[in-house]
Protein backbone atom coordinates (compact mmCIF):
# COMPACT_ATOMS: atom_id res chain seq x y z
CA UNK A 1 0.00 0.00 0.00
CA UNK A 2 1.25 3.44 -0.82
CA UNK A 3 2.01 6.02 1.80
CA UNK A 4 -0.76 8.14 0.37
CA UNK A 5 -3.25 5.33 0.67
CA UNK A 6 -2.43 4.50 4.24
CA UNK A 7 -2.57 8.15 5.14
CA UNK A 8 -6.04 8.39 3.72
CA UNK A 9 -7.10 5.17 5.38
CA UNK A 10 -6.13 6.55 8.73
CA UNK A 11 -7.78 9.89 8.24
CA UNK A 12 -11.13 8.97 6.80
CA UNK A 13 -11.92 5.35 7.49
CA UNK A 14 -11.46 4.64 11.15
CA UNK A 15 -13.47 7.37 12.80
CA UNK A 16 -15.91 4.95 14.48
CA UNK A 17 -13.45 3.70 17.13
CA UNK A 18 -12.73 7.32 18.01
CA UNK A 19 -16.47 7.93 18.43
CA UNK A 20 -16.77 4.86 20.64
CA UNK A 21 -13.87 5.86 22.89
CA UNK A 22 -15.09 9.44 23.23
CA UNK A 23 -18.57 8.26 24.17
CA UNK A 24 -17.29 5.78 26.72
CA UNK A 25 -15.24 8.41 28.50
CA UNK A 26 -17.97 11.05 28.34
CA UNK A 27 -20.77 8.80 29.55
CA UNK A 28 -18.74 7.42 32.43
CA UNK A 29 -18.62 10.99 33.72
CA UNK A 30 -22.18 11.93 32.85
CA UNK A 31 -23.72 8.89 34.45
CA UNK A 32 -22.49 10.06 37.84
CA UNK A 33 -24.28 13.38 37.29
CA UNK A 34 -27.83 12.22 36.55
CA UNK A 35 -30.73 13.26 38.78
CA UNK A 36 -31.28 11.16 41.88
CA UNK A 37 -28.12 9.23 41.31
CA UNK A 38 -26.03 12.36 41.67
CA UNK A 39 -27.78 13.34 44.91
CA UNK A 40 -26.93 9.97 46.33
CA UNK A 41 -23.35 10.16 45.13
CA UNK A 42 -22.89 13.69 46.47
CA UNK A 43 -24.23 12.62 49.84
CA UNK A 44 -21.99 9.58 49.87
CA UNK A 45 -19.01 11.70 48.94
CA UNK A 46 -19.72 14.25 51.70
CA UNK A 47 -20.24 11.63 54.38
CA UNK A 48 -17.24 9.56 53.40
CA UNK A 49 -15.14 12.72 53.42
CA UNK A 50 -16.45 13.60 56.87
CA UNK A 51 -15.44 10.24 58.31
CA UNK A 52 -12.03 10.33 56.74
CA UNK A 53 -11.40 13.88 57.87
CA UNK A 54 -11.72 12.81 61.46
CA UNK A 55 -8.58 10.81 61.05
CA UNK A 56 -6.72 12.03 58.01
CA UNK A 57 -6.49 15.43 56.34
CA UNK A 58 -7.82 15.03 52.78
CA UNK A 59 -9.04 17.45 50.14
CA UNK A 60 -12.64 17.54 48.98
CA UNK A 61 -11.67 16.62 45.45
CA UNK A 62 -9.48 13.73 46.52
CA UNK A 63 -12.54 11.63 47.24
CA UNK A 64 -14.20 10.36 44.06
CA UNK A 65 -17.39 8.37 44.13
CA UNK A 66 -18.46 6.76 40.86
CA UNK A 67 -21.36 4.54 39.94
CA UNK A 68 -21.12 2.37 36.83
CA UNK A 69 -24.43 1.05 35.60
CA UNK A 70 -24.09 -2.45 34.21
CA UNK A 71 -26.51 -4.95 32.76
CA UNK A 72 -27.13 -6.99 35.87
CA UNK A 73 -24.70 -5.49 38.38
CA UNK A 74 -23.79 -1.88 39.06
CA UNK A 75 -20.44 -1.02 40.57
CA UNK A 76 -19.89 1.66 43.18
CA UNK A 77 -16.34 2.83 42.98
CA UNK A 78 -14.87 4.91 45.79
CA UNK A 79 -11.47 6.38 45.11
CA UNK A 80 -9.69 8.17 47.93
CA UNK A 81 -6.35 9.71 47.33
CA UNK A 82 -4.29 10.00 50.49
CA UNK A 83 -1.01 11.84 49.94
CA UNK A 84 0.74 10.95 53.18
CA UNK A 85 -0.58 9.01 56.15
CA UNK A 86 -0.54 11.41 59.07
CA UNK A 87 -2.76 11.42 62.11
CA UNK A 88 -5.12 14.40 62.15
CA UNK A 89 -4.26 17.42 64.28
CA UNK A 90 -0.57 17.35 63.28
CA UNK A 91 0.68 19.72 60.59
Amino acid sequence: MSLFGSFFGRGSKTSAPVARDRLQILLAHERTGNGNESDLLNKLQAEILEVIKRHIAVDQDKVQVKLDRGNSVSMLEIDIEVPQMRPSGQP
Partner: protein, 270 residues
Protein backbone atom coordinates in the same frame (compact mmCIF):
# COMPACT_ATOMS: atom_id res chain seq x y z
CA UNK B 1 -53.80 -6.82 29.92
CA UNK B 2 -52.78 -3.84 27.83
CA UNK B 3 -49.14 -3.01 27.39
CA UNK B 4 -48.06 0.61 27.34
CA UNK B 5 -45.01 1.33 25.24
CA UNK B 6 -43.13 4.61 24.91
CA UNK B 7 -41.01 5.35 21.87
CA UNK B 8 -38.38 7.79 23.04
CA UNK B 9 -34.86 9.00 22.27
CA UNK B 10 -34.00 12.38 23.74
CA UNK B 11 -32.58 13.56 20.44
CA UNK B 12 -34.92 14.72 17.68
CA UNK B 13 -34.97 13.40 14.14
CA UNK B 14 -33.75 9.88 14.90
CA UNK B 15 -36.97 8.15 13.84
CA UNK B 16 -39.36 8.08 16.81
CA UNK B 17 -42.47 8.92 14.79
CA UNK B 18 -41.46 6.69 11.86
CA UNK B 19 -40.85 3.83 14.30
CA UNK B 20 -44.11 4.42 16.20
CA UNK B 21 -46.09 4.27 12.95
CA UNK B 22 -44.23 1.25 11.57
CA UNK B 23 -44.34 -0.80 14.79
CA UNK B 24 -47.95 0.18 15.47
CA UNK B 25 -49.00 -0.99 12.01
CA UNK B 26 -46.93 -4.18 12.27
CA UNK B 27 -48.48 -5.10 15.64
CA UNK B 28 -51.97 -4.27 14.39
CA UNK B 29 -51.45 -6.47 11.34
CA UNK B 30 -51.06 -9.46 13.63
CA UNK B 31 -54.62 -8.80 14.83
CA UNK B 32 -53.74 -6.94 18.02
CA UNK B 33 -55.73 -3.86 18.97
CA UNK B 34 -53.27 -1.00 18.78
CA UNK B 35 -53.45 2.73 19.43
CA UNK B 36 -50.61 5.12 18.65
CA UNK B 37 -50.64 8.27 20.76
CA UNK B 38 -48.90 11.47 19.73
CA UNK B 39 -47.46 13.28 22.78
CA UNK B 40 -45.76 16.02 20.78
CA UNK B 41 -48.18 18.81 21.69
CA UNK B 42 -47.70 21.84 19.45
CA UNK B 43 -45.67 19.91 16.87
CA UNK B 44 -47.85 16.95 16.03
CA UNK B 45 -46.71 14.81 13.13
CA UNK B 46 -47.79 11.25 13.77
CA UNK B 47 -51.11 11.98 12.03
CA UNK B 48 -49.24 13.23 8.95
CA UNK B 49 -46.82 10.30 8.82
CA UNK B 50 -49.78 7.93 9.07
CA UNK B 51 -51.85 9.74 6.45
CA UNK B 52 -54.62 10.77 8.84
CA UNK B 53 -53.94 14.51 8.92
CA UNK B 54 -57.22 15.45 7.26
CA UNK B 55 -59.29 13.34 9.59
CA UNK B 56 -58.26 15.01 12.86
CA UNK B 57 -61.26 16.58 14.59
CA UNK B 58 -60.46 16.29 18.29
CA UNK B 59 -57.12 15.61 19.95
CA UNK B 60 -55.46 14.46 23.18
CA UNK B 61 -55.78 17.89 24.80
CA UNK B 62 -59.50 18.09 23.96
CA UNK B 63 -59.97 14.78 25.74
CA UNK B 64 -57.89 15.87 28.74
CA UNK B 65 -59.83 19.11 29.06
CA UNK B 66 -63.16 17.36 28.73
CA UNK B 67 -64.10 19.01 25.41
CA UNK B 68 -64.40 15.67 23.68
CA UNK B 69 -64.80 12.02 24.57
CA UNK B 70 -61.91 9.68 23.92
CA UNK B 71 -63.96 7.81 21.32
CA UNK B 72 -64.48 11.09 19.42
CA UNK B 73 -60.76 11.82 19.26
CA UNK B 74 -59.61 8.36 18.21
CA UNK B 75 -59.09 7.97 14.46
CA UNK B 76 -59.47 4.49 13.02
CA UNK B 77 -56.84 3.70 10.38
CA UNK B 78 -58.34 3.14 6.94
CA UNK B 79 -55.97 0.31 6.01
CA UNK B 80 -55.88 -1.71 9.21
CA UNK B 81 -59.05 -2.08 11.24
CA UNK B 82 -57.33 -2.75 14.53
CA UNK B 83 -55.12 0.35 14.39
CA UNK B 84 -56.14 3.73 15.86
CA UNK B 85 -54.46 7.09 16.24
CA UNK B 86 -54.86 9.60 19.04
CA UNK B 87 -53.44 12.84 17.64
CA UNK B 88 -51.73 15.60 19.59
CA UNK B 89 -52.93 19.16 19.52
CA UNK B 90 -51.29 21.45 17.01
CA UNK B 91 -52.32 24.78 18.46
CA UNK B 92 -52.74 24.46 22.20
CA UNK B 93 -50.23 25.34 24.85
CA UNK B 94 -48.25 22.28 25.94
CA UNK B 95 -49.01 23.13 29.58
CA UNK B 96 -52.51 21.83 28.86
CA UNK B 97 -50.98 18.36 29.13
CA UNK B 98 -51.51 17.67 32.83
CA UNK B 99 -50.26 14.67 34.77
CA UNK B 100 -53.80 13.83 36.00
CA UNK B 101 -55.27 14.25 32.52
CA UNK B 102 -52.67 11.96 30.96
CA UNK B 103 -53.19 9.38 33.71
CA UNK B 104 -56.93 9.33 33.06
CA UNK B 105 -56.55 8.99 29.28
CA UNK B 106 -53.95 6.23 29.67
CA UNK B 107 -56.25 4.32 32.00
CA UNK B 108 -59.07 4.52 29.43
CA UNK B 109 -56.75 3.44 26.60
CA UNK B 110 -55.56 0.45 28.63
CA UNK B 111 -59.18 -0.69 28.80
CA UNK B 112 -59.74 -0.45 25.04
CA UNK B 113 -56.50 -1.69 23.50
CA UNK B 114 -53.87 -4.43 23.67
CA UNK B 115 -51.06 -2.03 22.88
CA UNK B 116 -50.80 1.68 23.67
CA UNK B 117 -47.79 3.14 21.86
CA UNK B 118 -46.78 6.63 22.97
CA UNK B 119 -44.74 8.70 20.54
CA UNK B 120 -42.60 10.94 22.76
CA UNK B 121 -41.54 14.46 21.82
CA UNK B 122 -37.80 15.08 21.59
CA UNK B 123 -36.02 16.50 24.61
CA UNK B 124 -36.19 15.66 28.30
CA UNK B 125 -38.82 18.18 29.36
CA UNK B 126 -42.33 17.64 30.65
CA UNK B 127 -43.81 16.34 27.41
CA UNK B 128 -41.18 13.60 27.18
CA UNK B 129 -41.54 12.78 30.87
CA UNK B 130 -45.33 12.49 30.62
CA UNK B 131 -45.03 10.29 27.53
CA UNK B 132 -42.82 7.81 29.41
CA UNK B 133 -44.46 8.08 32.83
CA UNK B 134 -47.05 5.32 32.45
CA UNK B 135 -45.03 2.99 30.22
CA UNK B 136 -44.36 -0.69 30.92
CA UNK B 137 -41.89 -0.90 28.04
CA UNK B 138 -39.65 1.69 26.44
CA UNK B 139 -38.20 1.63 22.98
CA UNK B 140 -35.09 3.78 22.87
CA UNK B 141 -34.57 4.86 19.27
CA UNK B 142 -30.89 5.51 18.59
CA UNK B 143 -28.85 6.40 15.52
CA UNK B 144 -25.27 5.08 15.36
CA UNK B 145 -23.95 8.57 15.97
CA UNK B 146 -22.37 10.17 19.05
CA UNK B 147 -25.00 12.76 19.97
CA UNK B 148 -27.85 10.29 19.60
CA UNK B 149 -26.08 7.68 21.76
CA UNK B 150 -25.34 10.25 24.43
CA UNK B 151 -28.97 11.42 24.55
CA UNK B 152 -30.20 7.84 24.66
CA UNK B 153 -28.00 7.22 27.67
CA UNK B 154 -29.59 10.19 29.37
CA UNK B 155 -33.10 8.96 28.53
CA UNK B 156 -32.28 5.49 29.90
CA UNK B 157 -31.32 7.16 33.17
CA UNK B 158 -34.68 8.94 33.23
CA UNK B 159 -36.59 5.75 32.44
CA UNK B 160 -34.96 4.18 35.47
CA UNK B 161 -35.75 7.06 37.81
CA UNK B 162 -38.73 9.23 36.85
CA UNK B 163 -41.35 6.77 35.58
CA UNK B 164 -44.29 5.39 37.54
CA UNK B 165 -42.77 1.91 37.40
CA UNK B 166 -39.39 3.12 38.69
CA UNK B 167 -40.99 5.11 41.49
CA UNK B 168 -42.95 2.05 42.58
CA UNK B 169 -39.71 0.10 42.86
CA UNK B 170 -40.29 -1.76 39.60
CA UNK B 171 -38.34 -1.71 36.37
CA UNK B 172 -39.44 -0.48 33.01
CA UNK B 173 -38.43 -2.89 30.24
CA UNK B 174 -36.08 -1.11 27.87
CA UNK B 175 -35.36 -2.06 24.27
CA UNK B 176 -32.85 -0.56 21.89
CA UNK B 177 -33.98 0.16 18.33
CA UNK B 178 -30.99 1.11 16.23
CA UNK B 179 -32.17 3.11 13.23
CA UNK B 180 -30.50 4.46 10.07
CA UNK B 181 -27.84 1.80 10.35
CA UNK B 182 -25.52 1.29 7.39
CA UNK B 183 -23.77 -2.10 7.67
CA UNK B 184 -21.27 -1.28 4.90
CA UNK B 185 -20.12 1.92 6.56
CA UNK B 186 -19.92 0.21 9.95
CA UNK B 187 -17.77 -2.54 8.41
CA UNK B 188 -15.42 0.11 7.03
CA UNK B 189 -15.08 1.70 10.46
CA UNK B 190 -16.94 4.83 9.42
CA UNK B 191 -19.93 4.25 11.67
CA UNK B 192 -20.37 2.97 15.22
CA UNK B 193 -20.97 -0.77 15.10
CA UNK B 194 -23.99 -2.45 16.68
CA UNK B 195 -21.74 -4.00 19.32
CA UNK B 196 -20.30 -0.57 20.19
CA UNK B 197 -23.73 0.95 20.78
CA UNK B 198 -24.92 -2.10 22.72
CA UNK B 199 -21.84 -2.10 24.91
CA UNK B 200 -22.22 1.59 25.70
CA UNK B 201 -25.97 1.62 26.37
CA UNK B 202 -26.23 -1.95 27.71
CA UNK B 203 -29.92 -2.53 27.07
CA UNK B 204 -31.29 -5.42 24.99
CA UNK B 205 -31.56 -5.01 21.24
CA UNK B 206 -35.06 -4.97 19.75
CA UNK B 207 -34.03 -4.45 16.15
CA UNK B 208 -31.79 -2.81 13.61
CA UNK B 209 -33.45 -0.67 10.97
CA UNK B 210 -31.16 -0.21 7.98
CA UNK B 211 -30.84 3.21 6.34
CA UNK B 212 -33.24 3.18 3.42
CA UNK B 213 -34.91 5.41 0.85
CA UNK B 214 -38.15 3.59 1.57
CA UNK B 215 -38.55 5.43 4.88
CA UNK B 216 -38.82 8.85 3.22
CA UNK B 217 -41.03 7.41 0.51
CA UNK B 218 -43.39 6.06 3.19
CA UNK B 219 -43.71 9.41 4.93
CA UNK B 220 -44.23 11.13 1.58
CA UNK B 221 -47.15 8.80 1.00
CA UNK B 222 -48.52 9.00 4.53
CA UNK B 223 -48.22 5.29 5.22
CA UNK B 224 -46.17 3.35 7.77
CA UNK B 225 -43.22 1.78 5.93
CA UNK B 226 -44.47 -1.66 7.01
CA UNK B 227 -47.54 -0.99 4.82
CA UNK B 228 -46.13 1.08 1.96
CA UNK B 229 -43.39 -1.39 1.04
CA UNK B 230 -43.68 -4.47 3.25
CA UNK B 231 -40.88 -6.32 1.43
CA UNK B 232 -38.31 -3.55 1.88
CA UNK B 233 -35.47 -4.09 4.37
CA UNK B 234 -36.70 -1.46 6.90
CA UNK B 235 -40.26 -2.84 6.79
CA UNK B 236 -39.02 -6.38 7.43
CA UNK B 237 -36.82 -5.11 10.27
CA UNK B 238 -39.81 -3.36 11.89
CA UNK B 239 -42.05 -6.40 11.40
CA UNK B 240 -39.47 -8.61 13.12
CA UNK B 241 -39.08 -6.07 15.94
CA UNK B 242 -42.87 -6.17 16.44
CA UNK B 243 -42.75 -9.96 16.69
CA UNK B 244 -40.02 -9.67 19.33
CA UNK B 245 -42.26 -7.28 21.26
CA UNK B 246 -44.90 -9.98 21.24
CA UNK B 247 -42.42 -12.31 22.88
CA UNK B 248 -41.08 -14.25 19.92
CA UNK B 249 -37.42 -15.14 20.13
CA UNK B 250 -35.93 -14.14 16.81
CA UNK B 251 -32.29 -13.62 16.07
CA UNK B 252 -31.60 -9.96 15.27
CA UNK B 253 -30.27 -9.48 11.75
CA UNK B 254 -30.00 -6.54 9.37
CA UNK B 255 -32.39 -7.28 6.51
CA UNK B 256 -30.99 -6.69 3.02
CA UNK B 257 -32.64 -5.98 -0.30
CA UNK B 258 -34.19 -9.13 -1.72
CA UNK B 259 -32.14 -9.93 -4.80
CA UNK B 260 -34.75 -12.28 -6.17
CA UNK B 261 -37.33 -9.55 -6.41
CA UNK B 262 -34.97 -7.17 -8.19
CA UNK B 263 -33.86 -9.82 -10.61
CA UNK B 264 -37.42 -10.75 -11.48
CA UNK B 265 -38.27 -7.09 -12.03
CA UNK B 266 -35.39 -6.81 -14.47
CA UNK B 267 -36.53 -9.90 -16.27
CA UNK B 268 -39.99 -8.46 -16.61
CA UNK B 269 -38.70 -5.28 -18.17
CA UNK B 270 -36.30 -6.71 -20.73
Amino acid sequence: MAKVLVVTSGKGGVGKTTSTAALGAALAQTGQNVVVVDFDVGLRNLDLVMGAERRVVFDLINVIQGDAKLSQALIRDKRIETLSILPASQTRDKDALTAEGVASVMAQLREKFDWVICDSPAGIERGAQLAMYHADHAIVVTNPEVSSVRDSDRIIGMLDSTTEKAKGGGKIEKHLLLTRYDPARAARGEMLRIEDVLEILSIPLLGIIPESEEVLRASNLGAPVTLSSPDSPPARAYAEAARRLEGEKLEVTVPVERKGLLASLFKGKS
